[in-house]
């Protein structure tokens, strides 16, 4: 498929990259990540083994945690639901995963277009997010390797911390992407922001 014809919900919203070098916040769209929603029975050993074999990542069992290996991360969303975040062609990965869990009751759905991913990074990133995110993001409560689902201001979002800077990824549905971006820019106003 001709990628030149692909448009993100944030095209025309984020503006050109750049901004003040000393801006407290850097906002970046992570363009078209490969996203697969995974449903299955965590207690079923065959399911877990199949997923690990296909992805090379252990299925996280603890709520709101993330398993990661190289460019692949698996986010715990519910006792029987995970979100696979990866790069590259979706078809191959989806096929591998479906084959690996074909013997058990499991579901793999391509959601690569169902979400938009925004990275927010910078010394003040936690403070910016806490203006609209009710859950605790203090390092004692949340860190790299963790994820959570809640509202960021008025948009439902999946949030995960990706670096100790701190840096985070905010995953929202495309129809909420412009609102979320605009909200983040507004909330960053007192620290200044740069587009990565």
């Amino acid at each position: 498929m001709d990628e030149a014809r692909a448009l993100s919900a944030l095209d025309g919203v984020t503006g050109h990259s750049g901004g003040a070098w000393d801006a407290g916040i850097v906002l970046t769209e992570v363009r078209f990540p490969t996203l697969l929603n995974l449903r299955g029975t965590a207690a079923d050993a065959a399911f877990g083994a199949g997923v690990e074999a296909a992805l090379g990542v252990v299925l996280p069992a603890a709520p709101n945690t993330v398993s990661q290996a190289d460019e692949r991360a698996v986010l715990w969303l519910a006792p029987d639901e995970w979100l696979v975040v990866a790069t590259g062609e979706v078809e191959g990965l989806q096929g591998n995963l479906e084959d690996a869990v074909s013997g058990v009751f499991a579901t793999v759905v391509d959601l690569s277009d169902n979400y938009v991913c925004i990275r927010i990074e910078g010394a003040q990133a936690r403070r910016v997010l806490q203006k609209g995110w009710t859950l605790d993001l203090h390092p004692r409560a949340f860190g790299v390797g963790q994820c959570a689902q809640s509202m960021l201001a008025h948009a439902g979002a999946i949030l995960r911390q990706t670096s100790d800077v701190p840096g985070y990824e905010v995953i929202v549905r495309p129809s909420f992407a412009k609102y979320t971006w605009d909200w983040l820019v507004d909330a960053s106003a007192e620290y200044g922001h740069r587009v990565g």
Partner: protein, 1012 residues
Amino acid sequence: MTGMNSPHQTNRITGTHVKGGGRVDRSRPVSFTFDGTSFSGFEGDTLASALLANDVHLIGRSFKYHRPRGLLGLGSEEPNALIQLARGNRTEPNTRATQIELFDGLVAQSQNRWPCLKFDVGAVNQLFHKLFPAGFYYKTFMWPASFWMAYEHVIRHAAGLGKAPEGPDPDRYERMHAHCDILVAGGGPSGLAAALAAARTGARVILADESTEFGGSLLSEDDVEIDGLPAADWVAQVVAELRSMPEVTLLTRSTVNGYYDHNYLTIAERVTDHIGAVVPNVPRQRIWKVRAKRVVLATGTIERPLVFRDNDRPGVMLSSAVRGYAVRYGVLAGQRPLIVTSNDDGYRTALAMHDRGARIACIVDLRTEPDGALVDAARSRGIEIHAGHSLVGSLGRGRVQGAEIARMTGDGTGLNGAVRRVDCDLIAMAGGFNPTVHLFSQSRGKLTWDPERFIFVPGTNHEPQVSVGGCNGDFTVAQAIKDGLQKGVEMAREAGFTGRKPAAPEVSEPKSTAERTLWLLPSTRPVGHKGKHFVDFQNDVTAADLKLATREGYRSIEHVKRYTTTGMATDQGKTSNVNALAIVSETLGVDVTQVGTTTFRPPYTPTTIGAYGGRDIGALFDPVRTTAMDGWHRENGATFEHVGQWMRAWYYPKKGETLRQAVDRECLAARTGVGLLDASTLGKIDVHGPDAAEFLNRIYSNAWLKLGIGRCRYGLMLKDDGMVMDDGVTTRIAEDRFHMTTTTGGAAGVLAWMEEHLQTEWPELKVHLTSVTEQWAVASIVGPKSRDVLAKLNDLDLSNDAFPFMSMREGTVAGIPARVYRISFTGDLAFEVNVPRRYGRALWEAVMAAGAEFDITPYGTEAMHVLRAERGFIIVGQDTDGSVTPSDLGMDWIVSKTKPDFIGKRGMARPDLQDPHRKQLVGLLTEDPNEVLPEGAHVVADLKPQPPMVMLGHVTSSYYSPNVGRSIALAVIKGGHGRHGQTLSVPLVGRSLKVTVCEPVFFDKDGSRKDG
């Protein structure tokens, strides 16, 4: 000293005086205006202290009687000095002069006066005060009823508390969510101690104080030393240590104003108010929403006013406030103060004033034999003390000019000696202290009455919290600090931290002896006769009003409160509540505990609406959801309509076209040529698992087990009661996978509904549901030429045999991987093309280009509505309202008679739902084919000249249909299925219309157009 160059401030204690300094910066004079007059103060002043420095005592007019009022207090307890701050759309009413920090150029105005403060027309209310007794507001409701309308206008005009701005607020406000182990509300001695003890364990601590700086009452005392340091120096030391700790958040100018369930509290932070300038991108105020594991309430005390005749005259103040203005701000509130006191604390004020150059008129002590160190200190300074005396009343015109005092009887209920006049310019009232239990009460804590000390103290708490210091009834600094340290470390331990209690410092402070509480100081006449004994200053409630309420039969303080308005409004009874309770209980001859207490409500002090709104304004008020094709719609002149949070293309007017002309054109094109609709917003759910078909069989009213792979079926979803809940087309993608569509607005609800049934009703079914609404962008190519357009983009066999109606094919469209569904919401030949969202715009443009030779016409939601109504297709939520069954809609065909069970089956079997007189869906045709009925219009059989009329039902959908060539309407009408052919009436404003009932299908009645 540059301060010397600033204009003279009459009451400012001179810099040369030993103790004259205060905490203002005399090297930084600032100028401000009050009611248009320029004054000078210093940085560090409040508006209140600066006005007092300039000998301004008349600051406002009272709420009901428009009596002249001055400052009573020092901080948030101030009931009188309400100020209208700033101008234009930045203006803010009801700010307390005692909490307004002075800055250069500050503009303040008094409130509740007209035309000006000194000559207020409303003050005539005083002359007619007998017309405004307690409950006067309610009494005007009662008789004569027709006068209420006239009263209301006048009362509301006269009783306003300030004025709201008329335009949008130009300032920025923000919100911050925070979590902590320990939230300490109040930064006085106990709060500082608690915060320090907790913070040293490593706990996350938020310490908030409403004032400019931490220290609380310690900043107003000059006779307290802690560990050998002046109290203020100890404060600085503690604050410095707290500031050095990374897990401590220090918030000054921040009022903990609300305490809600589960230790959820709000703090209103005034970020830039004290600067008096807009700082770009920095909020003026910020609401903190805090979840705390434990809360330490350290809110201190508020001094009780004494209730005597005309105790509201400017110049009658709380003793602790008088001391605070002297010590903290270097201002003598009067040059010749009289102190009336029930306790030793009043002597501290006398000493502080005396030592700063004031000539004490005398001390009037309610106690018969005062003694102790403080009393001795006053005597040794030659201050005159009148023990066992009452302050009979204040004297003066506007400002206090004197007082009448007299010896009391032994029991304190009457006078026992001649009334003497004493000259003074200030009366400082020391009536004892009330713990500030507002936040404790807000958190559903139960108060306990201490009958020994006549105070309410925190009793049983409801939240994981503790009260320390003054608000817990511990009135000495030593005890407050000791208790703060102890409770601070205890709370930290409860929050999971370990640590030792820091050693308590040595505190040197004056010792106090017993006090004598009298709720009403005896006067020469009974209350209510000549002069007024105020209890609630802000709401103008007097002791006589409270006694009248009890005479009229009120017993519960909750009723007395509402009847007299005591303890209400922005003040929330800070200085008045306990006095009011005590006077009511004394009048009734019962114990205070039998009268009960009222509940304090948030916010503790008024908070701007802007702060609560935060950034939820303008474009950020609510998300606007758009589709992948939104940019094309905008670039091509579409108009839009809100569908929930979605913004959908409504119609695409060409130059000069009206809505009607554009929609007519779009509707005709979709029937005669080809139209294109953005249908992306429909809800889409992936239903997968070995039991997927069985699941759908239970969720929908019709049969699903035998649907072939690649085939589509329309389904109705019912609630348990048999009423239509949602509808849509669902397609079998594989043996164990279905692609469900829902209405745009129902998507989230349907997913939750189905998930709930899987988890709670049918956990044995192996089905997974995944929302894929936004995975797909959807373009519906509609009309007789739709096949021709799609054929140019696609190599599928699009013939009716190879690709029949209600089936799905996977392939590519314009080179994009796509699922094409042959389904139709117009009745005409149509193809619904689904592609991954990122290609939505590319698909749309490719279809538009391919369709150009067929004059393809994009159409919006308005034409979509008309087209579906022409075929009688319902819209759930428009033609149904949650009380409509499939049978009511004439859709019995979609309800399975053979399935053993499905949601709604038993509900539909209820006898009432078989009633032939239920409201049923019909079509309506007007006599005049160009008359379009208003949606929502009522339909009647017996038309009368005016309501009431018996209503048969109402119009649910109504349009002009260019394809039918006339107006069409859908309606739900009682017994409608049996009324086809009948003529009914639709009464409208000033006229009525005749309509003929018909089948709800107006076009293509045999459904033959679906194959093109």
